[in-house]
Subunit: 359 residues, 2 copies
Amino acid sequence: MPIYNFSAGPGMLPAPVLREVQAQFLSYKESGVSIVEMSHRSKRFTELARHLEERLRRLMAIPDEYAVLWLQGGATLQFSMVPMNLKTAGRFAYLDSGVWSQKAIADARRVGTVDVIGSARGVGYSELPTWPETIQGADYLHLTLNNTIEGTRYTALPETDVPLVADVSSNILAEHIDVRRFGLLYAGAQKNIGPAGLTVVIVRRDLISERDVPSYLSYENHVDTLLNTPSTFSMYVAERVLAWIEAEGGVDEMERRNRLKSERLYRALDTSSLFRPLVTDTTSRSLTNIPFTTGNEETDEAFRLYAEARDLIELGGHRSVGGLRASLYNAMPLEGVERLVDTMHEFEQEGHHVSYKNV
Amino acid sequence: MPIYNFSAGPGMLPAPVLREVQAQFLSYKESGVSIVEMSHRSKRFTELARHLEERLRRLMAIPDEYAVLWLQGGATLQFSMVPMNLKTAGRFAYLDSGVWSQKAIADARRVGTVDVIGSARGVGYSELPTWPETIQGADYLHLTLNNTIEGTRYTALPETDVPLVADVSSNILAEHIDVRRFGLLYAGAQKNIGPAGLTVVIVRRDLISERDVPSYLSYENHVDTLLNTPSTFSMYVAERVLAWIEAEGGVDEMERRNRLKSERLYRALDTSSLFRPLVTDTTSRSLTNIPFTTGNEETDEAFRLYAEARDLIELGGHRSVGGLRASLYNAMPLEGVERLVDTMHEFEQEGHHVSYKNV
């Protein structure tokens, strides 16, 4: 019986990719050398990096006027690199849709002046913030396109001439994203791309300029070159994951599957008498991160353990919000969601929540 | 016949570790989940991270008053994080011993005033810089303890009350380093620790304080906690590499082997009529990085190809200096060096350098 891993990241990766990585681990492409021992300046690795970029460009239809950078430090480091590199007037507009937005805002405040032009704090982030009709005088407008913790996602975007910047860590390659609508997109790899330790930045070349910031922190130094040793293993696995997505039918097919999976789980949550979803506004529900609860902390924990004993793991909510959460990234098969739904029913019918509550 | 990889990094890793990683890749410790799919907040990974730190503390005798941080971005990101975090008066002293020192200096200049108190530029970095007898008025003194590109290393350190900061990327765990002599040590993992994408910082706790810098860039946010998702796979392999070092006899044994290996190669270089070492000052020769040349660019390249055809790979010098270079990290066995020495003799005796030159 397979284990279904609902972790929000690092998360499940496609099983065929993991098997291939294992098979190739001691000798990458019959080189006699492991990928982890290979110089990032070697011919083989240079080729690998090129394939990785080409695949991402094909999968997301990234035009040539955008550069693709492979960095380290996670989305967290981008929280400061974005304002450092896009600063012109020094005023930045942000939409506050949850924990990760707040962290991005806090870091931008150390670089310039932040205008939070919309916040969903008042409703506990269970829906998305609204924004003013006109947005002006900002170097960019930042939003978190999919909120990993709160389980919301934008399906409409502000109409504005200000460049849009989005954190797409938890929905990149999981659903269609129109790159041309954005000035810059960034994502940590550890959800839909590959192992942790890798961050991808997709940025319109005309937004990049020489900056008086330290070398690693300047986008310009990373354009079309490797400034220093990147996360070579993560890039290798990412290239294989992207090959898998292409072979499976691309991002459209991933989105189709993710819709099926999230609809299946939401249907169960909307009709359950024990569990309820945290995001009630159906138009802003994430396809990839679905927080839910029984409304009782002990019963939530009882279910988490009940599911874990049945090989459905990492269903705990983020430590900042508690409750339960199922992350349904590309590598999670529909069967995993069906098993989860069945297990929710069993738990409910067996009345475990009562006995667990009394433990 | 094994392949011997003389890459300066990412470099050779111990074969038994690679085999173990491969065997465990689909199911870490019988969890049914790959290490690359495992949440960095999970119990299993938390334990792994603890073991990693404990092993490093034992191997390097790191006292409790030092924190150990596992970061990303390579030594390059430390070039700016060091001055950002240790800045008090805003004056930094640097010793310039080569390419990597220069990069560190350039980044520090964006944060404060740099005094280069000694430079080996005048002698083409073939020996180490000297330093003034008294060093005062600096927040710290930075040096590159082992110069990966130029092949020099410090065996004596300045006597000063100013905290010493050292880049130890290419000699950490390869030879004894007295941690107590330093305020801060940092190293990219991809030479003697594990796969790329991981940087370790060992810093005296009293030097860390709250800083008005973005979240990722503040040491304080990384002390005794994971601020965000780290390079989980690299940390896993690093833990296994450190276990291997401990089992083999620790850093003293690594240093003993590295001395044997470097002496073997230097003996050949010092007595060769074709090859010569770039570092002539015998007291400052690196144990891990040995640059050499025939004095002729084409013959160097001919030898690189000759060796490569005999499974001795990555012998090219750094693109900034050219020539040849053998990096002899912990995972390189003595047999690899003997093969290299034999191959140098064969190349010389067969007169290949002549015919190759005329190609």
